[in-house]
Every structure is written in C-alpha cells, then in structure tokens.
Symmetry: C2
Subunit: 122 residues, 2 copies
Amino acid sequence: MSRAPHHPTRDQIELPALMDCLGDPIRLAIVYNLARLEHAASELRCGDFNVLSGKSNLAYHFARLREAGLIQTRISGTTRFIRLRRDDLEARFPGLLAAIISAATRDAERLQLPDCELVTAV
Amino acid sequence: MSRAPHHPTRDQIELPALMDCLGDPIRLAIVYNLARLEHAASELRCGDFNVLSGKSNLAYHFARLREAGLIQTRISGTTRFIRLRRDDLEARFPGLLAAIISAATRDAERLQLPDCELVTAV
C-alpha cells in the first residue's frame, strides 16, 4: 500500500491546474493516446508511451498528470498502469475532458501527437 | 492601423497554447468575466478588470490572452476594449470554450474568481 502514489480526490481536482497541465504537448499526447486506445484497453502500461519521449521525462509527465487528477496510476510488481479518470473529471467538470480530447484529436496531425502502440494487450 | 496589436488568425490558434494560457487563475477570471458580462456588453474596457490585479500585471495577462487567440483587443483613443473570440474558438475547437467557461462558472466561488463591475456601459 505504501507504494501507491498520491492522487487528488475527485473534489480536489482544480481547473487552473488541469489547464496548466495540458498546456504541454507531451502531456496532451498522453491523454490523447489514453482516450484513443480506451476501446482496446481501459489502462495502458507506462512503457506503451515510450515513443513520446525519454523514460525519465515521461515519468515526470505521468506524475504531473496524476497530480492534476487527469490519470490514475496503479503499480503492479514492476509495471505501472495508467488510465484516464473520466468519471471523476466528468463529475467535476461536465463535458470538459470530452471537448479537450475532441480538440486534440482534431489537431493530432498538426500537433504531431504520435500514436502509441500497445506493447501488450492488458 | 499601426497601433492595432497582433492577433493570431483563427487557424493559428493552438490547443496547447490555449490550455497553458488558461492555467493562470487571473486569466481564467478575465475569461469568466468576459463571458459573464457578454449579455450586457459584447466588449469590455480593460479598466473594468481593475479589481483583479494591478494595471501592469493585467496588461501582461491581456497580452497573453490575445496571443493565445482567446480575446480580441481594440484600441480606441486611449481606451482598450477586449472581447472573447467566441466564433473563432468555436470554429477551431467546437464546445471547448463553452466547457471551460461552464467549469469556471461552477468553481467561481471556490477559485475566488472576483466579479468585475462594468465601469461604464459600452
């Protein structure tokens, strides 16, 4: 239990922190890919995102997304899994995450948001 | 004409820049107030926002909002007027601005977003 990283509760999710977090193209790309691959896997391995950036850089971005309340991190053995906190975000700010994902999807090519491949089906 | 400040075209509005811009509570408060007072005035004077922050600090925030494509600035004599670029933003990212304004309105008290008063009817 001590290894479970800190997550803000639903009520602790704050709008400016959420906006600020998604001002970064790599974090936007992570959210875009989590949404894009949700039909195939409700959570992804952190390793699935290696195409986006270096490992330590990615670890920083995952932490920022977790602290802003955008993703839930689960550690199992040596593997970290992440998923979008869709229900919490929808309850806190109805329609906001969907509008952001739709905007990112629209601009995916323009922003050069890379498409991650699932390393392994979860 | 030379005094007209630079605005990105509709197509030049970028999602990460827009998110980053609204990661700041004062800029969020400006957008919230522009939306809140739109029924009374399609544009506001920069002076209407003096309750939010000091004048030079506000000038910086107005410039950031203008550069991100969120507001249109018009200079008339010694007065600056600003308005939300609702049509451009809606065309670029459908539903996004509305979802952000709705989230800000929901959290206005919690974020202590001050309500600006119209100094003068426009």
